[in-house]
């Protein structure tokens, strides 16, 4: 199975535009784009993503709160979640991983290697333990 369906949550419209351009237009992923954690919770179950790409600092529900709420939705209990954030000090990254994130992509990210990074992390999560 290959990675194709990504739930993407980001409150900054400019970063959203770039990510959508990279992931949807250039690499052909099927994206469900959400502007907030609340919107993501509302759309996640119906979209049934293979991966969630989640901003951390958002007004309303932040990334960790959104992650916790997603885990309570049917079918999303184990869906891999990757945080994309500018807050990447060592102790912050450790905290994200402890929350159950698959990985962390630091902002600013390299648009040319973003899809490879996502695929690598996702493939790793699909390997049998």
């Amino acid at each position: 199975m290959t990675l194709s369906r990504i739930l993407y949550v980001e409150d900054d419209p400019d970063i959203r535009t770039i990510c959508v351009m990279v992931l949807e237009s250039l690499h052909g992923f099927a994206l469900e784009v959400c502007c907030s954690g609340e919107e993501a919770i509302a759309k996640a179950e119906a979209f049934a993503p293979q991966l969630v790409l989640l901003d951390v600092m958002m007004p309303g529900m932040d990334g960790p709160e959104t992650l916790a709420a997603l885990r309570r939705l049917p079918g999303l209990e184990k869906t891999p979640v990757i945080f994309m954030t500018a807050k990447v000090q060592a102790q912050e990254v450790e905290a994200y991983l402890r929350l159950g994130a698959l990985g962390v992509i630091a902002k600013p990210f390299d648009p040319m290697s973003l899809s490879d990074q996502l695929r690598q992390l996702w493939n790793k999560s699909q390997e049998p333990n």
Binding site: I18, L26, A86, K107, P111
Partner: protein
């Protein structure tokens, strides 16, 4: 007859008042002298008198009422006119100075008077030790000697008192000073018992000065605090100077300093100095929150800028002509430069705040350097510069945090590359210094560092004043961060100017034995 005034009257009076002896209660030290004087000379009345502007005041007396008489009537007012001699009046009725004195013509009918002046070293006669009788009498030479000797004893008492008063004044001044400074000052003896605490110290811990002295901190401070202080106090009581910071249950923070002091090579006690740094700590927390928030706020727009520029540059939105590509390249490089600056600022902040964690482990320096070169090869290629690595023949181990070591090396390597002419070589040499140290040198063939600038090389933002360096890009923090990183891992940084030109930046670390490595080899 009224006595004349002594020639030094005004200084004499000033001295007398400064003594603070006038109008004080009776004291046995003085009373004993008057008693001995009266008994030894067989006279019913004796007194120690002090003469001020208008009265004779009795500090001590035997056989008469303690109190004062007017200076006009005082026999002693005549005695102080000759500070070095006894005044002897065998029968006052026959002495013209006293024959009309109401104390002679009326009650109590004084006849005999002998007064030894109480004279200071400066020659001020303050009053007299005097013997009085209502009968005329004579004083033998021996009794005169006794009277003089006892007057000297009175002066000795007065001098002791004077010294004590001076000491008390000095002590009060010191206490006033200690109570006025915004610093906690304390003094403990060699067993850790309080000898002194200033007001700030007592107020800070809420201590009662009455029962504080002679107690140990364990007896007067809250238990949690005592446990916090114990290890530092133990070290100080062994004679070690100790500095530490301590937060109490209310979140107040002090920076404290234990200063042992010695007498004859023995520990005599400890001075405790501490200042309130709660506000500074709060400011630091605010600053950290600010730096973290600002870095996030700066990175978010940078994400859009560098992301958009990256996509354009890689032709994802159609091909670009050369001028367009060149301009976008400038914008992209500078957005990355801004990113490096933010990262460097964050690193510097973490290093200075002591918040950067180091996981030190023994590592083979050759494999570390190979990694460092590999990670920077792409960057070197973009400047058409190559690396050459010269490593020792046998494995050498240093104890470092691999990521931080690579970060330090990346700073040195990128500097060397930036300043190297195209098609040149950057040499990375590793050599052992003596038995216990190792040096890693990064040598380039660039323009070198001007001599007057070398002392600033490892300072923060050192290239700010160096326009030539600014043109090369970089944040001016790289070498300062390198130094901090290396020093935190127990190493040193340095610079030397190779004879053939260019620059040589080096790192030095102590060599360590690699326990894991050796064990593995033995098993093999």
């Amino acid at each position: 007859m009224r006595a004349a005034l002594p020639a030094n009257e005004s200084q004499r009076l000033r001295y007398l008042h400064r003594l603070g002896l006038l109008d004080t209660p009776s004291e046995s030290d003085f009373d004993d002298v008057t008693l001995v004087a009266a008994r030894a000379c067989g006279v019913p009345m004796a007194a120690i008198t002090l003469i001020d502007e208008d009265r004779q005041w009795l500090k001590s007396c035997v056989g008469m009422e303690r109190g004062e008489t007017s200076r006009e009537l005082a026999f002693c007012a005549h005695t102080i006119l000759d500070p070095q001699s006894l005044t002897l009046v065998e029968d006052a009725r026959l002495d013209q100075r006293f024959s009309d004195n109401p104390q002679v013509t009326g009650a109590p009918g004084l006849r005999f008077y002998a007064g030894a002046p109480l004279t200071t070293e400066e020659g001020f006669a303050l009053g007299a030790l005097c013997l009085v009788d209502t009968q005329p009498r004579q004083l033998s030479l021996e009794q005169q000697d006794i009277l003089r000797a006892l007057a000297r004893q009175v002066m000795q008492q007065i001098r002791l008192r004077e010294t004590l008063t001076d000491l008390e004044r000095t002590r009060d001044k010191l206490h006033l000073l200690a109570d006025s400074v915004p610093v906690l000052i304390g003094q403990l003896d060699a067993e850790g018992r309080y000898v002194f605490c200033n007001r700030k110290y007592r107020d800070w811990w809420g201590l009662d000065p009455q029962w504080l002295l002679g107690k140990t901190s364990a007896e007067v401070l809250p238990g949690a605090l005592v446990r916090g202080l114990a290890p530092y106090l133990a070290r100080a009581l062994k004679g070690e100077e100790v500095e530490f910071e301590l937060e109490d249950a209310d979140g107040r923070v002090i920076a404290a300093h234990y200063l042992p002091h010695r007498q004859n090579e023995q520990l005599a006690g400890i001075f405790v100095l501490a200042s309130d740094i709660s506000q500074r700590k709060q400011m630091e927390l605010l600053k950290n929150a600010f730096v973290s928030s600002v870095s996030h706020e700066l990175r978010t727009p940078l994400t859009s800028i560098s992301g958009a520029l990256g996509l354009l540059l890689h032709g994802q939105t159609g091909s670009l002509d050369e001028p367009q590509k060149k301009l976008l390249d400038i914008a992209h490089k500078n957005s990355q430069r801004l990113m490096y600056l933010i990262n460097d600022l964050l690193d510097m902040e973490k290093l200075l705040a002591g918040k950067m964690r180091f996981e030190l482990q023994p590592a083979d320096v050759t494999s570390l350097l190979e990694k460092a070169l590999y990670e920077n090869t792409t960057y070197a290629s973009s400047y058409q510069v190559r690396f050459a690595l010269i490593t020792p023949r046998h494995p050498l181990f240093i104890c470092v945090d691999e990521q931080r070591f690579l970060q330090a090396m990346a700073n040195l390597l990128s500097n060397a590359v930036k300043y190297s002419p195209a098609d040149s070589l950057v040499r990375v040499e590793c050599q052992q210094l003596g038995a216990a140290r190792l040096r890693v040198s990064v040598i380039d063939r660039g323009p070198g560092v001007p001599e007057d600038f070398r002392s600033n090389l490892f300072q923060k933002f050192s290239q700010a004043d160096n326009p030539a360096a600014r043109r090369k890009g970089g944040t001016g923090l790289g070498l300062a961060i390198t130094r901090e990183l290396v020093e935190k891992m127990g190493g040193q940084v340095g610079f030397s100017a190779p004879q053939e030109g260019g620059s040589c930046f080096y790192l030095e670390f102590p060599l360590v034995e690699n326990v894991a490595h050796e064990t593995r080899e033995k098993r093999e």
